[in-house]
Amino acid sequence: MFHVAVIAVLVALVLAVFRALAGPGVFDRMLAANSIGSLAILLLAGLGFLNGRPEWLDIGITYGLLNAVSTLAVLKFFRHGDLAFDAEDEA
């Protein structure tokens, strides 16, 4: 049964990588990169159950927490052109 999940996630990964390579704009690539992160977490969970080592989920939680950091960094860079921009400066 876990095979089904792993195969589905792999198919989705292929499609997401296609969107990341083809995506016309930066935002499409960012969307695809974010989805690749989510799919990697699901792949990891499925693989952990498939191999009978579900304690690998720690790594999945790490991915989930840090995926947000990188995506928000890119978005902040686009909004303000600066990573360390202070919110107080904004009128």
């Binding site: 790594i59 790490t62 927490l65 840090l66 928000l72 902040k76 990573l83 107080e88």
Partner: protein, 139 residues
């Protein structure tokens, strides 16, 4: 991103869990994947996330520059001093069996202290690099 209520509330909610998870990775490193280096990186990522959404001034109130930059060498010193008691006990440098009567517990304590040095150095270095980039960009 001050007006972004969703981002502010979301990050405020997630931030403590990131730090807690880093401590879990650190203390659980003996039993599962992870250890001092990974935990240090996760702590630094948490602080950077805070800086991204609330601005670097707010982040510098949480983790002041002076403290962070002093913690960078302090971690290495923690590591080195973790090995010195072995010398005083007449054993080798970084011999952990001196920390407890039972050598097994001594090993556990030794690994704990040494990994503490690693986590401090790694987290402080990452945060200091981020601050340095931000200050440089400011001019």
């Amino acid at each position: 991103m001050k007006q972004d209520v969703i981002l502010r509330v979301g990050v405020k909610t997630v931030f403590p869990f990131i730090l807690m998870f880093a401590l879990y990775v650190h203390f659980h490193g003996d039993y599962g994947p992870g250890g001092g280096f990974q935990a240090g990186v996760i702590i630094a990522a948490g602080i950077i996330l805070y800086a991204l959404v609330f601005g670097s001034a707010a982040a510098k109130r949480v983790a002041p520059v002076a403290v962070v930059e002093r913690l960078v060498p302090a971690g290495v010193l923690i590591y080195v001093f973790g090995g010195i008691p072995g010398l005083f006990a007449g054993k080798r440098f970084l011999d952990y069996t001196v920390y407890a009567q039972d050598p097994l517990h001594g090993h556990e304590w030794g690994v704990f202290i040494v990994e503490g040095g690693v986590i401090v150095t790694v987290a402080a270095t990452m945060i200091a690099i981020f601050y340095a980039f931000g200050d440089r960009a400011r001019g």
